[in-house]
Structures are given as structure tokens and as C-alpha cells.
Symmetry: D2
Subunit: 145 residues, 4 copies
Amino acid sequence: MKSEFKFHHDIRVRFADTDLQGIVFNGNYLTYYDVAWTEYFRELGLTYQKMLEMNADTVLARTEIDFKAPARFDDILEIYVRVAKIGNSSLLFRFEIYLQGEDRLLNAATSLYVCIDSKTLKSTRVPDALRSLISELEGTTVNRE
Amino acid sequence: MKSEFKFHHDIRVRFADTDLQGIVFNGNYLTYYDVAWTEYFRELGLTYQKMLEMNADTVLARTEIDFKAPARFDDILEIYVRVAKIGNSSLLFRFEIYLQGEDRLLNAATSLYVCIDSKTLKSTRVPDALRSLISELEGTTVNRE
Amino acid sequence: MKSEFKFHHDIRVRFADTDLQGIVFNGNYLTYYDVAWTEYFRELGLTYQKMLEMNADTVLARTEIDFKAPARFDDILEIYVRVAKIGNSSLLFRFEIYLQGEDRLLNAATSLYVCIDSKTLKSTRVPDALRSLISELEGTTVNRE
Amino acid sequence: MKSEFKFHHDIRVRFADTDLQGIVFNGNYLTYYDVAWTEYFRELGLTYQKMLEMNADTVLARTEIDFKAPARFDDILEIYVRVAKIGNSSLLFRFEIYLQGEDRLLNAATSLYVCIDSKTLKSTRVPDALRSLISELEGTTVNRE
């Protein structure tokens, strides 16, 4: 539900994103979520470079994706993003995609990202500075789930 | 576990599949699974064209993906594929990816495909002919899960 | 040179667009040009649907691309687009890519698109309505090259 | 013409490679050429890792692509590859794509790759060892063009 989210980022579907069924190829939703994830961090004031500097590189560890209805070429998609839970070394993201201006859910994902050291690739604790920034954006709901 | 599968298809990781972390970008695993899915049906004697003719077009409805360890450029990936369950209008696929010749699981997915009418896009019953072909390949285990 | 162009469209480089060299994979520039091409037609008041309706579906027949300098993750690219020449059944596009706010050319392409009938895929004459719209945007320079 | 080539590599078109026109999206040909380029070097006994070790990292500097006829889902494409010319710091590749077992040219490209130092990204001389390996595969024709 859109109202659960404080942030969204819009993406227009590219011709190259479609396949011969005339709809967006399924793998491209992970690209859309990745873009929206990047923009969520930019909203927090964090570029990828700054995240590396605060030792908060991340990798996607697990995702669940529901394909409710197809997106098509030239559609403007609103990608809603929120952090549902902050773990010791992980961030649980929730994503939902709606056609611009509509309330019908097209696609949804729940994705677990793990903070890693970009050199050793081992998991690291979510930095306190990152916890603060996320909590500030999301309000008090993050750690209660 | 490789021994649960009757079929696998090998894919070599392309340079274009990697990202600046030096590993395969997460969305590309859905492409790998899609390719292996196509080859699974070819193993059954079914091209996409034949599937359309038997009114068995499909769409991906839901997927869960576990990213256990990254794949890298030039790796040869063994993509294992099996149908875990045949529902009324759906096929539940299980996929696992291993580095060629190794037993360490890199990536795994459970994906629900729904049979649709390619014109109306409404769900249709899994054709009996398709049920037979799958059961023949998989043995007796398909409908018991 | 930016000043030769009446139109540009900005694209931010996605993580998925990069490869293990840490730069944008070469094939993705054709996607960027395709997006900018779509936006050029939108600037003319034409969606893809409207182009189909005026019997002006197109295919890319030939392209020459110069890779002057690499683009990187998170860069904002200004994609400049103009029609350099309108032939009987073809449109010659010129594209140039600059980092936002900079004058150093990163990438350039000259691409020949051919108008086709979307059913027969045979080449068709560039519709007069399209010629007018392009000439209006570009000014008097289009047919002189 | 196939007979000009000593090497080819086959690629089957993936569902994800197609677009809503039902044909391979133009940018994907650069991916196909990149894969075939990698396999050409493997034929020479060179993995990307070995090329880095012989200080022969490369970047694509320029390409010209002719889109003669579209490739479609599930087509098996024969990607022919040869080095047409070895310059001081560059390799000129010629690529041609045919449907498996047919003589009709679908796509062709001429691509200039420049050897670079992978740290400084500055152009370097084509290593003698690489010149020898290529000349051995191609025969006496390489330096005459």
C-alpha cells in the first residue's frame, strides 16, 4: 500500500526492457528495484561512494518477488521503497511498483541486503550512522517489525 | 542438492553480466533461470512455439531467490531445473546453480509459473499433454509435494 | 558539439549498466541511444503508438559508435539527439553523450533508421507528417546535409 | 563471407534478448560480439586473466554495425570472428552473424579495440606474444590489410 512508504522513485519502461510477449522481462524488475534502492540511499544523503566510505557496501542475499500484473513499454512506474527492518548486519527492504497515478499493484518484492566489507566480502554490522539516517526517514516503525 | 535433479543446462557467465563489484549482477540470475527453463522444455521435446500451440504459454507469477555466493566472469554455471509441483494452472519450478564440477550452491530459486492463454492472458489449466511429459521426465515425485 | 543540437535527454547510469572494468558495458550505449531516440519523438508529440498509427514503425539499419571515454555508475549523461538527414525511407540520427555540465564528448553515434510497415517489415516512405514535425524542431538544416 | 573466417562461436538467442517487436534488441548484438570475442581469445589459449597478465587489457574504441535482418528467439547464431588488422596499439576485428546452417548475413560489425594498461587506462602496444598467436590462427593475411 502506497501509504506505508515515505519514498518512491519513478522509472519509465524502456523499449529494451520488453520481450516478445510485449511486456517487461521479469529479470528487469530486479534492475528497477536496484535503481530505486540507489535513489533511496541518495534521499538519505548517501551515494554509493559514501556508503563504501562508511564501510557499508551491501549485497543482495535473498529476494521474493510477486509479479501481479505486467508493465509495458513507456509506462511510468512508481517504485516505492522502504526499510522494513534493520538487523545486526542486514537491511530488509520492501518494494512495491504501481503505474503512475494508479492504485493497482504491479509488482512487489521483499529483499534482504547484507552489509559487507568491500575487501573481504564478509558481513559487517550495519553502521550506526546508517541506522540513524534510515530511522529518521522511516520514523519509528523500522525496528518494531 | 544436485542429485534431486534430472536435468541441468550449462551457461558461461558473460562479461556483460558482471557489474562494478566484479560479480554477476543480481537481475541476471533471472535470465539464467529463464534460459534453463527454456532448455528444460526443449528436453521435453517442446519449443516455445509448440507450447503456444498446446495453449501453454506461461508467465512468472512469483519467485524466491537465494544469493548464496557470487558467480564471476567466465564461470561455467550448471543450472539445475526440476518441476517440484504441478497445480491446476501452475507449475512450481526449483532451480539451483553450481559452479561446474563443484558442490557449493551459488544460487537457488523457487519459481511459480502460471499457464495463460496467450491472447486473453487469463490463466488456463496445465494441459494434460504437458503434465505427462513432465511426469515422465521427473518420475513419480512431481505431484506428491 | 552540443550547440548543433536542439534536444537532449538525461540518463543516470545504473549499477546494472556497469561491468567488471567498472565502466558502462559497450552494448548499453545502444540502449541509451534508443531511450533518447524515444524521447526525441515524444518531444515531437509522438509516442511509439502514434508512430505505428502514422505507419512509421522503424528499425535500426546501421550505426557507427565512437567510444571516446567511459561513463561510470551514477554519472548523469546528457544524450544529445538530432536528425541529420531525412531520406526517402530513412532517418539519419546523430547522437552525442556528455557528462552533465561538461564539454568533453564521451560517446557519439550516427545511426540510420529505416521506416518499415510493422506488418510486412518492408521499408516505407517517411510520412510527410513526420518530415514536417522533424523539420519544425530542427529548423532548416535537416535536408541540406 | 563465412569462408574468410577461421573461427566462429555459436549463441542461442535468449527470450530476454528480444523486445516487443519480437526480434533481438539492437544493443544485444554488441553483447553477442563481446562473447564471440572472448571465445576467439580462448581459441588462442588466452583467458581474460591471461590477457591482463600479458598487459593486454582492451577497450572497444569504435564499432560499425550493419543490421541486415533480425534474429529471433531461439535462433542459433553463428558468430564469425577474425582479426582484420593489427595496428600499433589496436586490433581491428570483423564479425559476421549467420543463422546456423544458412548463408544469409544477419548482422555484421567492424570493431576497433585498443590495448590499454588496466591501471592507467592508457593505450599500450599490442604485445608481441599476442601478435604471434593471432597471426598463427589467421594465417598471413592479418597485417596486409
